[in-house]
Symmetry: C2
Subunit: 333 residues, 2 copies
């Protein structure tokens, strides 16, 4: 049997993707598709767990996300891109795994606990949200994923999947399910333009991959820098200064960047100059993406067809896993 190099990854379609997504995962996917069997899921069902009353946002975002993928170079010839809600086996696997996890265990999932606080659910947590670690185990195992690229905050989710895999394989005396491992992207997280730790749509501090030039300009201009760098001649801080963090992520000219950092720290280099450089760098990065996006936007039917094809391929794999799962359980009629 060939070595299992399956990867499962994806995004919740609740808006367009931004630079944080690129740095945190998309860039990695473009590399990994050459060395691994990569499945990229547009997780519309998972998005519904905390957006049940905004299905129209989710639907429109599915296409946006697909366009983002194609524009940044995820290649449907190498990567299987699919829509979660069109894979019934994921729902079915979830139903079986639900019986292998206790209610108490779910309550104590650290990632879910943090997210419940962040989302302000209070005592109105949707049941679908509480059980999403289990449906995520279904996503991962459906594709026999060996590798799951996640940030540190998502590690407990993968641990939950590993627990389910072990319990399933032990209970039904099988090796049908594969234990996944996490792989961490190089730069885990890009701060927001407001300096907050995470770039996110909810925090309204993101630069989107599909933002037009004028919008990027406006956003970069109002970016948070070192609040104590009041006059140009003052020494400025580079650490925790998102303008420099972005440059670290996107500026290919590391030498020039280092000399700018030195200058900024010595004093005498104004924020406007650094921001101008960042804009230049971002434009160089974003303009070919925008151009490719325009091309794909012209023929949305072709994009939908690409998604359909990926979904068909994904269904083949997930249905095979479901079949093995049912065989292991012995509930085949």
């Amino acid at each position: 049997m060939a070595e299992n190099k399956n990867i499962l990854t994806g995004d919740r379609p609740t808006g367009p993707l931004h630079l944080g997504h690129f740095v945190g995962s998309l860039a990695n996917r473009v590399k990994l598709q050459d060395t691994h069997k990569q499945y990229v899921m547009i997780a519309d069902m998972q998005a519904l767990t905390d957006h049940a009353d905004e299905p129209e946002l989710i639907k429109s975002s599915v296409l946006e996300v697909a366009l983002d993928y194609l524009s940044i170079g995820i290649d449907p010839k190498k990567t299987v891109i699919f829509i979660q809600s069109l894979i019934p086996a994921i729902s079915e696997l979830t139903m079986y795994y639900l019986n292998l996890v206790t209610w108490n265990r779910l309550k104590h999932n650290p990632t879910v606990k943090v997210e419940i606080r962040q989302k302000g659910f209070k005592d109105q947590v949707p049941a679908g949200f509480m059980i999403y670690p289990i449906s995520q185990a279904a996503d991962i195992t459906a594709f026999k994923a060996k590798y799951v690229p996640v940030g540190d905050d998502q590690i407990p989710m993968i641990e939950q999947t590993v627990e389910i895999v072990r319990k399933f394989n032990r209970t039904y005396n099988t090796s049908a399910l594969v234990e996944p491992e996490t792989i961490s992207p190089a730069i885990a997280r890009l701060p927001g333009i407001d300096g907050q730790a995470k770039m996110s749509k909810t925090l309204n501090n993101a630069i989107y991959l599909s933002d037009p030039k004028e919008v990027v300009e406006k956003k970069v201009k109002k970016m948070y820098t070192d609040p104590n760098h009041l006059r140009i001649e003052d020494p400025g801080k580079v650490e925790g200064n998102p303008v420099f963090t972005y440059l670290d992520a996107f500026d290919p000219d590391k030498e020039k960047l280092q000399s700018m950092k030195d200058h900024y720290q010595r004093g005498g280099l104004g924020d406007m100059v650094v921001k101008k450089r960042l804009l230049e760098v971002l434009e160089k990065f974003l303009s070919p993406i925008r151009k490719k996006r325009k091309e794909y936007e012209k023929d949305k039917t072709a994009v939908l067809q690409m998604l359909k094809k990926g979904t068909d391929q994904a269904n083949l794999v997930a249905n095979q896993t479901l079949k093995e799962v049912k065989q292991a359980m012995g509930i085949v009629y």
Copy 2:
């Protein structure tokens, strides 16, 4: 549009069906199949929620239950008999409904609370068990069931379904889902042969529809009666005496039964005589069922084919509902 007379009902395949099932639901189904569109589900997925480590029991019981159905006169030409795990739409609908119910609401479902105590789960309640009211809502709504025959203890489950239907239809501005009503069988419950309120496999106090004559004889002989009816000449109690409850349910000669009751209450009628009459009555009831069962057992492939056909019919209906549900949510690609 024709009046909706859809019924959804069924059983968890965790063993053969007994007289309690017959009185509580099966007898009713034989009648209802002439006046309603009846869907009878063999709920193997639901059985797994508290029997995750006994899939072989569930698998073998699926066939047993189907044989019981056919033997007592549920007619696959009139009733759609199907296997739950072969209807993917039920799992998919469950996933969407999970987002419309809060975790707190699930915790407070009275039926689930009682069952958790009865089953002795303590702090090891499987998540699948906690959410089974939601998957039951998926069962019911998948078939647009207007009527669900349930005992009093299950009424909170139907209320939960009604809540989900209302929330779904309101949230997505649709009338795709149908609000079910409960219909209560005439005699809700048959006591066990030990006098306990409920006949059940777990309590080991059941007479099965497939029990051979000798087994029925043995069970009737050791049946609980009036514990204070020590000598034949003593007056005996009829209320709470399961032998008479069974006669009430199965003896077609009501006049004779009444005179036996009078005699028993006056004193002078021994338990053995009443039990002999019960055995006679039960044999008259069970022997044609046994005979039909033998016929069906000869050709199990035909029974499986009948199940397959019913499942195909059920999938048509459930997939149509899923389609409408997705359309209402707008997540159609």
